[in-house]
Structure formats: C-alpha cells, structure tokens
C-alpha cells in the first residue's frame, strides 16, 4: 500500500492525508490537487508512520480511526524531529471544541464536511 495515491508536484507542496474512508481520502486528494498540492494518502495511521515524514509540509488526519487515532497522530507528529503542522478533521458531531485540539498543538480543526477553500488557505499559510 506504500505510496499508492501519491501525486507528484514540485517539492515543498506535498501533504499527507490520513482517513480510513477511501472515498473521503480520494476526494481530499482531488481537492488538494486542485489547490496545487501533492498528496500522500493513507488509509491508516500505521501506513503513514511506516512511510516516514520526509518531503512533507503538513499532515491532515481524520480523528476517528483504529487502531491509531488522530489524537495519537497529532501527539506523535508534533513531538517528532520533523515537527510538522497537523490539521485535524472529524466527522463526529459531538466531540471536544476546536480549542481543545489547537491547545494540544494542532494547526487547524475542521468538521466534515469541511470548507475546502479554508483548508487550502490554511495550507497556503504554512507553505
């Protein structure tokens, strides 16, 4: 499954997307591509970690996944040497407030269905 769905773009604009729903994952790849970003798409956090952070500018992750969930991804990524920015996405109607994730170091927080333009604006700010 390694690096399937990888789209090639000029370096410095590659984003990792983690979501266990394939349809959602493909749609994000499409959205990011339309904003000029390359993606490395992962159906699970395990796949993402086994791949490594090299070449990435940001990580976008779903919250509700098993066995490793979005919170764990956030913790692990921001405390890694790469210290990449992480954007959290959730489909759960009633979870913690946005502040909760931002306080834990997330760059951004979006509820599904997300505002694609806002997401791309946020990414543009990073790069």
């Amino acid at each position: 499954m390694t690096r399937r769905n990888e789209t090639l773009v000029p370096s410095g604009r590659t984003v990792a997307v983690i979501d266990d729903d394939r349809r959602v994952l493909t749609s994000f790849v499409n959205l990011l591509a339309s904003g000029g970003y390359g993606t490395r798409a992962y159906a699970s956090a395990m796949d993402f970690f086994s791949d490594g952070y090299s070449g990435l500018v940001c990580v976008i992750t779903d919250l509700e996944m098993r066995p490793i969930d979005g919170m764990q991804v956030l913790e692990k990524v921001i405390h890694s040497d790469a210290a990449l920015p992480v954007i959290i996405i959730t489909g759960k109607p009633s979870e913690h407030m946005e502040d909760c994730y931002l306080q834990r170091g997330a760059l951004g927080f979006f509820r599904k269905p997300i505002d694609g333009d806002a997401l791309l604006d946020l990414l543009d700010g990073v790069t």
Partner: protein, 652 residues
Amino acid sequence: MLIRRYPTAPAHVYLFATCLVDLFVPPAGLDIFRRLEREGMSVHFPRTQSCCGQPVYSSGNPDEARAVARSQLDVFGEPWPVIVPSGSSAGMMRHHCGYTREELIGMRTRLFDPDITTEKIQQLREDASATFNSRHRRKDGSHFPVEVRVRAFDRGGRLYGIGQVSDITDRRRREQRLLAQFSVTRTLSEAGSLEEAAPRILREMCEALEWDCGAFWRVDPEAGSGSVSGTGGFGMGLARRVWSSGAPICIPDMALDREFQRAESAAKEGFRAAFAFPITFKSDVLGVIEFFSREARDADPELVQMMTSVGCQVGQFTERTRAEDALRHAREKLAQASRMATVAELSASIAHEISQPLQAVVANGQACRRWLAATPPDIDQARLSAEAIVRDGYATADVISRIRALFKRTAPAKVELDINELILQVCTLMADDIHGNVISLETQLARDVPVIRADAVQIQQVIVNLVRNAIEALSVTMERKKSLLIRSRRDGDNVVVDVQDEGVGLADLEKVFEPFTTTKETGMGVGLAICRSIVESHSGRIWVVRNEVGGATFSFSLPTETSDATFAPLTAYSRNQGRCAGTASQIYLTTEGFHGIRKRIDRCGRRRQTGAKNASGFICYSSEAGKQATARNLAYYNIRCLTLTLNLRETL
C-alpha cells in the same frame, strides 16, 4: 351422701355490675372482678351496660322494660355466662333473656323456632331422625342460631320427637370469621391494586361478619390525612382516632358513647355499633378499615385479633403493591431513558455514516470548482471530479437505504431461496469494501444445501451484517494477509452459514448479540442484535466462536421447511446484473428493488441499443417491484428475457 357436680369454670365470663353496685359500692364490683380472675376466668366488663330494666318494669311498663333489657342483652353478645351480683337484677335479665322451663312446656315449636317448616317435619316423619340448623327465638324476640338433632317416634299414630338443641352462636361466628379471613386472603392474592381489593374486602367482610356498612380509609402520607373509599362513603371521626392511636376501637353502641362526638349523625344513619382497626405495615398506619352495624354489638378479643391480622395482611399487600408500582415506574423510566439514549445514539451514528460520503461529495465539488476556475481551466480534472461527485452521491443514497433496510421491521415474507445465491449476491454487493480493504475472500458453498423458505431481504441483511463486521475486524488487524471465508453447509435438517475472519476477534462472546454492544467507535451496536432477531424469527439460531488461529466465526442456521408448493418458483437471476444474459431478443424487463442497480442495468441495455453494436438492439424496461413487473409483462407480452433480483420487496 349428696354429690353435687359443678360445671367446669368457663374461660370467659361477663360481669353485669348493676346500677346499685356501680353507684353505691364500686369497690364491690372490683372485688368481684378480682375474685373471678383469681379463679382463672377472663372477665369482660362491657362499658355500655346500664340498667337491667327493673325500675321501669316495677313501675308497670313491661314493654319499655323489654326494650331496655334487649339493649343490655345485645351488649353480652357472646355465649358466655353473665355474672350478676344481684338476685333481682339477674332474675330480670333472665326473665327477658329466655323462656323458663315452665313457660316452654306445652309451647308450640313454631313459637320459638321460626325456621321450622313442613318440609322439615315431613323429613322427620320419613327418616325418623333429622339434623338441621335453625334459629331459636328468645323471650325478648331476639334470635340465636341453633343446631337441632331430633329423633322421631310414632305413638298411637301421633308423631313425637326427642330433640337436642345446641346453641351454635360460637361455632357460627368462628365459621364466619374463617370465611371472612379466607375471603380477604383470596381477594388480596387476586387483586392487582388496593383500589381493586378494598371494595371487595369490605363487601366480603360485611357479608361474612354481618356488618351493615364498611369504609376504607387510606392515609395519604403527603397530606397526612385520610381519603375515603368505602361502601357507604361514610365516616364518623372514628378513622382519625384509630389512625392517631394505631389501635382498634370498638364502640358497641354509639348512642351511649359519650366520647363519640358524632353519635347523632350515626343515629340518623341508623347505626349503633362501630368497629375500626388500622391497616398496618411494621409500625406505620397506612389506613383504617371501619364497619358499622345497625345492631349494638361488642367486639371480643378473638375478633380484635382477627381484625388486627387482617389489618396486617392488607398493610403488607399495600406495601407490596406500592413497591411493585415504584419498581414498574422505575422500569418505565429506565426504558424511556434507554429509548432516548437509543435515539441519540442512532442519530449520532447515522449522522456519521452519512457525513462520510457527503464529505467526499463536497470535497470533490470544491475541487471541481477550482479546476474550472484555474487558468487555463483543467476540464479533464473537472470532469473527473464531477464523476466522483455523482459516484459519491450514489454512495450516500446507498448508505441511507442501507440504514433504512437495517431498521425495516416487517414480518418475514418467506419465499423459497437458495442460500448460495444469497451469499454470492452479498459478495457482489460488498465487492468494493472487500477489495478496498485488500481482503482475500474465499467462498465454500456446499452443493447439497437444500432450498429454504425465508425472507430473502432479511437473510441478506444478516449476511451483509456478518460480512461487514468481518471486514471491519480485518481492516484494523496488523496482519498483512487478511482472509475472509464464507461457507454454506448442510447440518441435518438445517442450512448453516459461517462467516469466518482472521481479524482482531472479540473480547466478550456472550454479549455481542445484545443491543448497543459495540467494539467499534462508530457503530451503533445494533447490527448483531438485529441479526439475532431476524434469525430467531425464522426459527433459526445464531452464534459465534473464537477461531484457534485468531478472529471469530459467526454462524447461523436456518431450518429447512417442506415447501407448501403454492409458490411457483421463478427463474431467479441475481448475479452479474450489469450484463444482460439470455438470448438476444426485442425486449428486456429488469426487476430490481435497488435504484442504483436498476439504473446501471438500464444504462447498460440502452447503450447497446443506441450504440447499435448489437444489430437486433434491446428495448429495456425496468421496474422496482414484482407487481409492477407483472403489470408490464401483461402489457408487453413479447418480453423474452426477465432479469430478476431475489430481494424484491413483495412477491409476485
């Protein structure tokens, strides 16, 4: 030598103290009391005793004297000896109480036995002996029950009889009390609530114990006062006294009771005696039962004891029904709460299920807009995005119909079906999920599985649920090789389906079929509960075992039933719906309940028609239900091929 035999001392005696003793030498009365008690007798002193009637008798008013004596005799209701420390008073009482020996000699039986009938005499004449219950009349006109045993003999053509008459007041009373107690016990065992039991108890006790009116008072613990529910809706302040004292109260004659404030209203109603006792539970008084009689009467210790025990019985019943009510109320609240929780749980779960494909629609839509807005516009990417939107939109609709199907609770519409067909159908339906999760699927379908009669939609739901669970268990496993096995087999008269995965397995096998048991973050935990209810409604069984190598195997078995042969089986065609099978002909009819699939088949047929790749071309019709299909079939009778799915909503 003169031998005088004394009767053995009675256990109970009454003391009639006479007005003279009472007025002038009260200590004499107390001495008598002590003396009798020393002899081991229980002395009863009815407080309502007043006068033997001598003064009025002596002043020449025998009728008035009889009335006075009558009221006094009522006070001594039990068949116990009455000790009267005055010869003249005793004589006066005796005069009114019964006939003397001399008076009885030569008296016609009918005069003291109003119940004697010609039938009884006839019976005596025929059988020469008889035993019957009767009433005898005292001189004062009052009655008492007796048992009469008579032997008859003929002397010179005339019938004579020798009889033994026993006063059965005591026995009758015991019987009545036993009956009353039995009735109360029976009523309490049958009734569901005190409101139901109370009127019956009052009526039965009134009948058995010959009271004229009864009332039932229930203490309202919040208001601290009683509310009445009685036969007469009648209360005279007695209940309040019993409630505050917690002890039974008997008023033999309310007209003579100075303490009793409302003697007048009692007299107006025609009541003289009143008896009230508390309904108790532990030391609490829960209510009061009272009885009234038009005749003056006293309560003996046995009656008091009996009423106390009835009060306890009713109290325990009250407490038990109260506890039951509280429990039922609590259960109802809990059920309501869990229903509310279910609704909340369900809506959250459904929201999540739908928000996923919806997210894909939105993201692809946004991407599409961006591709078009780019300079130059990327039409290819935009078109791909639009196609993705359409696909994801269908997927959303699919989720919705899946949820609806999951909760469709209808009685099974049983048709003959091949379980292997169903399994293959499910495999087709879930092919995306299986391949998407890189799962290798294996099916082992036994050829000898008999046809079963079952609801195709429901059984399909069961298989879909089990397969989906297996996929989910496999998707989170660390193993790289993910295998799923679906097997059908015959087990005696049953058809068994096993869905075996090597996924993460289950922690608690016992509870998986209980509703709202879930190991998944997003599941609602009703899938397996619904599976169980479906399988059980088909008289089948569902179970799960742990695999030795890991993962779990869910199995269900369905009994084979002999077909009643009223259903003509149609050639069912369910797999590969996208490809139209059969010989090329003019018209195709597709019958398929799933909108998405119907459209796809339709499109497939039309493409061939318009694309003119096939010289003959097809005209395709589709219908979503069997009824519609048969209607079309009649209209276009030259239909040559029928594509039919198994899981139609209704039979043809």
